[in-house]
């Protein structure tokens, strides 16, 4: 049986194995030699030296641009953005340059860049350190987006992201860093996976929300309701085949994520599920996500904002006609 390690250790393991196997892999970020606020890069400077673990000033735009330029000329850089909220500062370089250079040059250039971002709601950090911005990246042609929920995927999919010749945004959830799981190295490199089988309702999710979906499935199982839980893992490219196959059987689905519901990944997933061949839903597909607001810092405000397993349970019961349907499954019924 494979060892159980923490998610944050799995991230470090993915970095380490990639750097050992490919000398063109370098890491750039704020305080990465020290290890960063959560220790993801701790010890890497000792093994790989300061020439490959590069501490940068607080200059996200230029760091992202440098990594893009380095990638276009032969390196395989990994940029760490300490909080995904700060990716806003680097969006020109990420969206206009990293994502488009391959296309705009008709394939003359390629940008094998990995952007590690950390985010999600956890720890009462307030509205500048708690966002889930994956929909922005998903909306950008040229970027790939991956959001692992378990340590096994955290290690394996980071290696896959680094080896990819396209720019990949690799999204870590801070609230998962201390969770443990097996790392086998045999995790599938691409596509989504079924985390739990069930016959009544399909729950599609990713990142930490997968854990809430599994908890909701446990709760509902006690009442004889079987939930099938799909972990998307990759948001771009988006693999909905397992979700479609599941929905064909169940006829009911909930798409759940921690990001704001409006314009979120869930909207894209629902639209694609509805359009898939052979789908006849018994109820409109429900979405669970955060309300249309920044997150408040106070514990009561954060708790009221962040969706969890209770919201998924409520959405499933709503689909089954066991409770009054909420407005689009959105937390608190707000839009």
């Amino acid at each position: 049986m494979a060892a159980r390690i923490r998610y944050i250790e799995a991230v470090r393991q993915g970095l380490q194995s990639s750097m050992r196997s490919d000398p063109s892999v370098i890491v750039l970020g704020e305080d990465v030699r020290y290890g960063g606020p959560f220790g993801a890069t701790k010890g890497l400077a000792d093994e790989f030296g300061k020439g490959r673990i590069l501490d940068t000033p607080i200059s996200e735009a230029t760091v992202m641009g440098m990594a893009t330029g380095a990638a276009a000329t032969g390196l395989r850089p990994i940029v760490e953005i300490m909080f995904v909220d700060f990716a806003t500062l680097a969006m020109d370089q990420l969206v206009n340059h990293a994502a488009k250079l391959g296309f705009m040059t008709g394939g003359l250039l390629r940008v094998p860049l990995t952007v590690r971002v950390q985010g999600g709601v956890s720890g009462r950090f307030g509205a500048h350190h708690s966002q889930s911005l994956e929909a922005w990246f998903l909306h950008t042609p040229g970027l790939k987006v991956v959001a692992p929920a378990f340590p096994g995927d955290a290690a394996r999919l980071l290696e896959v992201a680094i080896a990819d010749d396209n720019p990949v945004v690799y999204m870590e959830h801070r609230g998962l860093y201390w969770t443990k799981g097996e790392v086998t190295g045999n995790e599938p490199a691409s596509g989504s996976v079924v985390r739990r089988r069930g016959d009544h309702v399909t729950i599609v999710s990713y990142s930490r929300m997968v854990h809430h979906a599994l908890a909701a499935a446990d709760t509902l199982a006690a009442d004889g309701i079987g939930c099938e839980v799909i972990d998307l893992r990759w948001l771009a490219p988006l693999d909905l085949e397992p979700a479609v196959a599941s929905l064909r059987r169940t006829g009911r689905a909930v798409v759940a994520h921690e990001a704001v519901t409006t314009g979120g990944v869930g909207a894209e997933v629902v639209a694609r599920l509805q359009a898939a061949r052979g789908i006849r839903t018994r109820a409109p597909i429900a979405r669970v996500g955060a309300p249309f607001a920044p997150v408040g810092a106070a514990p009561e405000l954060e708790d009221a904002f962040v969706p969890g397993s209770g919201d998924i349970v409520g959405a499933v019961r709503g689909l089954l006609g066991e409770a009054p349907p909420r407005t689009d499954g959105q937390k608190g019924g707000r839009t």
């Binding site: 063109s24 008709g106 250039l109 042609p141």
Partner: protein
């Protein structure tokens, strides 16, 4: 890196004429409706492009701007593929996906250009980082205009280049106008080279009408970069004789200003200089004629090429 033989004076003049002829051809084709899009010409700024690239080897990196036809030609880009790209042909460097503002000729070290002011400066630093990491002696050049000097990435990049002693030469083409308004409407700083001193980057301001002065200043900067001395800043005072883009009547410029800069035209000025140093006038005329012929042939071939293939609309989004 294989050192490239330095260009002779006549070769420098030939590059300048190639650029002038190419840009005039683009202007003509645009006016005739044969080239579409947003076209920014560098007529009048040839001294900067050729002077800078004359100091570089083929394997050195250049990162351009929205106004970079001149830089690509100065670095040795193929005229037909470049014209085909600007004209939206499938035979263009980027299969028509880049266009005038996103040209790329990596085989001669012209890596890419950008439509976002200052967006290329961090990219150039990244290429310099590649050189350092791989222990190569390639130098990286970022061209940018005076308008870039007030942007965040410009200042971040100066700080970072100095901090990491990156082998990069920052070439600021100060043509006095930021789009449609004078530099004085954007900053109280008159010489952008002054910004460099804050970051302890050696800086010099040169007359962009004097191609050899530009070459010599950039050569010093390149030598410093190859010797491990880190970045340099070269501010080239220049002037674009056309508007911000083709179609811009440039009413913001006075007639006397235009006349003054026409007198300072870097191409004519260098030809005069060579004539005064004893080069026979007919040789100089031959250089211009040869350049115009090459451009005419390249343009004719490019325009005869098939347009960009609509089937490629989603191609190259991913590798």
């Amino acid at each position: 890196m294989t050192r490239t033989r330095p260009l002779t004076d006549l070769e420098i003049l030939a590059r300048m004429w190639l650029i002038r002829a190419f840009e005039e051809k683009v202007s003509e084709l645009y006016a005739a409706g044969k080239v579409a899009g947003l076209i920014h010409l560098g007529i009048g700024q040839e001294g900067s492009a050729v002077g800078t690239c004359a100091a570089l080897g083929r394997s050195d990196y250049v990162f351009g701007t929205h106004r970079s036809h001149a830089h690509a030609i100065a670095k040795g880009a193929d005229l037909r593929r470049l014209m085909a790209e600007i004209a939206g042909r499938s035979t263009g460097y980027c299969k028509g996906k880049g266009g005038s503002m996103h040209i790329s000729a990596p085989e001669v070290g012209f890596v890419t250009a950008t439509g976002v002011v200052a967006g290329n400066i961090p990219l150039a630093l990244g290429a310099a980082l590649t050189s350092v990491t791989r222990n190569e002696d390639r130098v990286s050049v970022a061209f940018f205009g005076d308008g870039a000097g007030q942007s965040g990435p410009f200042h971040e990049s100066l700080n970072m280049a100095a901090l990491w002693k990156l082998p990069v030469v920052l070439v600021c083409e100060n043509n006095g106008y930021v789009e449609f308004s004078p530099l004085s409407a954007h900053t109280v700083v008159e010489r952008l080279a002054d910004y460099a001193s804050v970051y302890s980057i050696p800086a010099v301001t040169v007359d962009g009408g004097d191609v050899l002065a530009v070459r010599d200043a950039v050569t010093e900067a390149v030598d410093r970069a190859r010797g491990g001395g880190g970045p340099s800043f070269v501010e080239v005072l220049t002037h674009r004789l056309r508007g911000h883009y083709e179609g811009d009547p440039a009413r913001y410029r006075t007639l006397s200003e235009r006349e003054e800069w026409k007198r300072k035209d870097p191409v004519a000025r260098f030809a005069r200089h060579l004539a005064e140093s004893g080069v026979p006038p007919e040789s100089l005329d031959d250089v211009e004629a040869a350049a115009r012929t090459r451009v005419a042939v390249a343009a004719e071939q490019a325009l005869a090429d098939p347009p960009a293939d609509p089937a490629g609309v989603t191609g190259d989004v991913y590798v």
